[in-house]
Homo-oligomer: 352 residues x 2
């Protein structure tokens, strides 16, 4: 039931492990490139046969360039609702892709650091994910993938506008650079509103971690560039990185302030979260996420030492509803999931 | 600062230890007798000099009968607001006594099982407390105290109305029999409303554990007879006992039902409560009470085995704001109390 789409010996994508720079605050960096094929109608007007043509061309190109053997190529008829949800929870597809009626496909490299969506909003969406604050190396990888594919595929490009895209906000470089941030300090001190407002003024945008329209829950935020036209790729990467570094500084200051002036209240919150995770018999997804994020903060503040960030990051993915079911290779109702989730978290943290 | 009013070697009143019958559900039984002295105006009309006279007469009677050496006699000028609150938390005085402007006093036997309020609502209120469901032995003790005092004091009594009291609902035997009940099963299954309504029909009344006007918080209830005229002492005791036994049966059934049909949810609630108590850095009085009562239920359901009922019952008293301060012999602001309370509970339960 889909265990085959899990990379062997690796329970979550490599990009979600806390290995990159500043990964106490920046969970990961993501680059997305929008590309379309010349001579085929863009998606809002593409017929099913056009969509199939795109799928064939991309698959062929991936095959030619030996990408297929490094990952998985799946089309929509191979993707059950559960598998789609699983991929969404792993940030490999957006909500629109789940809901779409089109002939669509996805290519995922085994370690989940690179992927390509076919017939989402554009003919191709190339995605690269890395751990921590590291947009430049994410970009390097995707540039490589993009260049290789461009040898096989006729991209729609004009010297005046650059890469042509379905949505005008993506025209130009077609590049969107995002950072996934964990900002409990700024949320608790209520500084976050100020930070989010100043982002807008700088042409950046903050969203929930599951993209457009998703709520910013559990102190997780996704910060991206708003426009892609008029700036070079390098300028976009530099801008988002610079702002990201600024936010990291603010978050560190907020944490220092909390530890200086509200240490006991923070210790209390974190000790309770850890205790509940180690003892609860039922845990829903939202509560588990919030508690794990508090423990994550506790580890970063040196208040919890028996468990490491990697374990918490892995749990943050595995406890999500579809991931949990695929992990246990078993379809489960909500109540059963809550029980299994609690039991998974309990056993992992007791051995932590 | 008042450690002297704590019985030596005994951290809470003997009546609060889980030694009596059905003490998994019935925390304790209480008997109160209202008595007034003939020839002295009843309290609403008594002048300060009348009030002093009552105090003197009672103290003299206690001395004559060698009660003074078995306990403490304290007048209102020896009772700081903190000590008054301490006594209220231990169910030795009611709220009215704390707020009163009268010359008033209290006699407390060392083990807190017997006490006498002087110039509360009546000249004398005799109180006897026992552990568990045991109104008859509580009554036996108080009858003894009452008889002995009546040798020294001229009680106001008429053959027609019995003992005369300030409030008409106490006229007659002047006896109020109460049970302190812990009814989480009935509360969780929402059967409690039905039970409380049927009590009223039988002439009984349910209140919060701190008497009239106090809320029924944390699944604790006080059930007493409503009227004292027209029934003999024995009839009152039998009636309250019979109803109490009925409630105990309902509560047992509710617990069985929960353990059969909602075991996991109950285990979850109890495991979380225990984990929070063992790990929190800050605990307010209300939360601590609710969590301790859940652990109490957990012990009674055999879900928690490392700690016993006695420990929980003692904590339920010691964590109350005034008791906590007197236990630590230190006046504390709310925040400091929350910290000390958490630390006391943590250390007791970790060694439990």
């Amino acid at each position: 039931m889909g265990k085959n789409i899990l990379p062997e010996g690796n329970t979550v994508g490599k990009w979600f492990l806390p290995e990159g720079p500043n990964s106490d605050i920046v969970l990961s960096s993501r680059i997305r490139l929008a590309r379309n094929l010349a001579g085929i109608p863009f998606l809002p007007r593409a017929e099913p046969k056009d969509q199939e043509k795109v799928l064939e061309m991309v698959k062929e190109a991936l095959n030619e360039q030996r990408f297929l053997e490094e990952g998985y190529f799946l089309t929509e008829n191979e993707l059950s609702p559960l598998k789609l949800e699983f991929l969404k929870e792993r940030h490999l597809i957006p909500l629109d892709f789940v809901r779409s009626e089109r002939k669509r496909g996805i290519y995922i490299k085994r370690d989940e650091t690179e992927s390509i969506l076919i017939n989402e909003e554009d003919h191709l969406r190339l995605q690269s994910l890395t751990s921590g604050m590291d947009l430049f190396s994410a970009y390097e990888k995707i540039e490589n993938l993009d260049n290789t594919l461009s040898e096989e595929l006729p991209y729609a490009f004009t010297p005046e506008f650059g890469y042509l895209t379905t949505c005008p906000t993506n025209v130009g470089t077609g590049l969107r650079a995002s950072l996934f941030l964990h900002l409990p300090g700024l949320v608790i001190t209520k500084e976050i509103e100020k930070v989010l407002r100043s982002l807008l003024e700088m042409g950046l945008v903050a969203r929930g971690i599951y993209g457009e329209g998703s709520e910013t829950k559990g102190n997780l935020f996704q910060v991206s560039n708003q426009i892609t036209l008029g700036l070079s790729e390098e300028e976009i990467l530099e801008k988002v990185t610079k702002v990201g570094e600024q936010i990291v500084e603010y978050e560190k200051k907020a944490r220092e302030f909390l530890m200086r002036d509200f240490r006991l209240a923070i210790e209390d919150k974190i000790a309770r979260a850890y205790a509940i995770l180690k003892n609860a018999r039922l845990l829903n997804s939202e509560e588990a996420t919030n508690l794990l994020l508090l423990v994550r903060l506790g580890i970063n503040l040196n208040l919890i030492k028996e468990v490491d960030l990697k374990t918490i990051n892995i749990l943050l993915i595995l406890i999500r509803p579809a991931n949990l079911q695929i992990y246990y290779n078993q379809e489960m109702e909500e109540r059963e999931r809550d029980e299994k989730r609690a039991s998974l978290v309990r056993s992992v943290l007791s051995n932590g």
